[in-house]
Symmetry: C2
Subunit: 196 residues, 2 copies
């Protein structure tokens, strides 16, 4: 049976971790990007459907394409981040289910039921995006997630064949604590939860 992680680990993952807007000058190596994904991929999705796809925007040329679709308030932090991950979703994730969930015909649950497929893709791709951010923190990186960009424009630029849909963006690097905003309040347990 597992124990609880020590307080230092809980602080790093949750309590002291912050959404970063500025970055120190330290690159993020490709091996670290691989490690983030290889942790995140293990966490659960419905019927193991694993709809998240990730584009790591790292080169100056790719970053310039991305900056063309990011809102004004997100320009500077995205430009200066060592890497920006596009967290996207495979709209046709169900075509992979014979491989990912081989013991039954799970593909049949989604073919011809677009509303159910779309909701399943969005829910599970988003779960994986959260796993991705906590995996990055577990490896000592800081993250800066963003919804402020033009999804349709991004999809036309990076996913022209229409199969993948952008969900949100995550700046990745080592945060500069001097550039943090003050922390906003959270709901208490009793405001957000009930025990029945």
């Amino acid at each position: 049976m597992a124990n609880r992680l020590d307080d230092e680990a809980l602080d790093q993952l949750f309590r002291n971790a912050r959404t970063h807007n500025g970055w120190i000058e330290r690159p993020v190596e490709d091996d670290v990007l691989r490690e983030i994904y290889d942790l995140a991929k293990m966490a659960p999705t419905s019927a193991n459907c694993s709809p998240m796809r990730v584009v790591f925007v790292k080169s100056a040329e790719a970053k310039a394409r991305l900056l063309g679709v990011v809102s004004a308030g997100n320009q500077e932090k995205t430009r200066t981040a060592p890497v920006t991950a596009i967290i996207a979703t495979d709209r046709r994730f169900y075509d992979e289910l014979p491989k990912l969930f081989p013991h039954t015909d799970a593909r049949a649950w989604f073919v011809g039921n677009e509303a159910h497929a779309e909701k399943t893709a969005f829910r599970n791709g988003t779960l994986q995006g959260a796993y991705f951010m906590l995996a990055a923190r577990a490896l000592g990186l800081d993250v800066g997630p963003m919804s402020g960009f033009d999804n349709d424009k991004l999809d036309r630029e990076f996913f022209p064949d229409g199969r993948y849909a952008s969900n949100f963006l995550v700046n990745l690097g080592y945060g500069d604590s001097a550039k943090l905003f003050p922390r906003n309040p959270r709901f208490t347990f009793d405001e957000a939860c009930t025990i029945l």
Copy 2:
């Protein structure tokens, strides 16, 4: 600057953790439920919108109500789990933004834009659901997330005023490894990711 967590912690959170279907006879105290939430609430949401609401179903009477809406394949594991969390979303989360994101009128971004509000609620409530599961694992618990239930029926039973929408369910407890299914495959980095 943070270090990477040790391998034991990474195994517990990601690599060795499993979706559990059977539970040993050990209760989950209310203090632990509070602790899960108090970790999960700190992780990021867009404009700090924090739309997740949680109902912890623990008593025999509440569990019986929940079993009335859960699919056949999820009955036994839900019945035997010490606690089942209903991960729900507040459809009117934006009414709380003056408190949660006080430095600008973020409520105005959503009022009268139902499609944007609904997508923001679902995306961020789902991120919080993932944080919740990893917080539970960080505290030494096992989780068993489920989408196999009737959302509309659950909402009528537990959220009759229509403000909250069920997202997914999470069984919580200490897993019985003897009842695990074999692990399904995951996409490799090169199948799911690109570095540009």
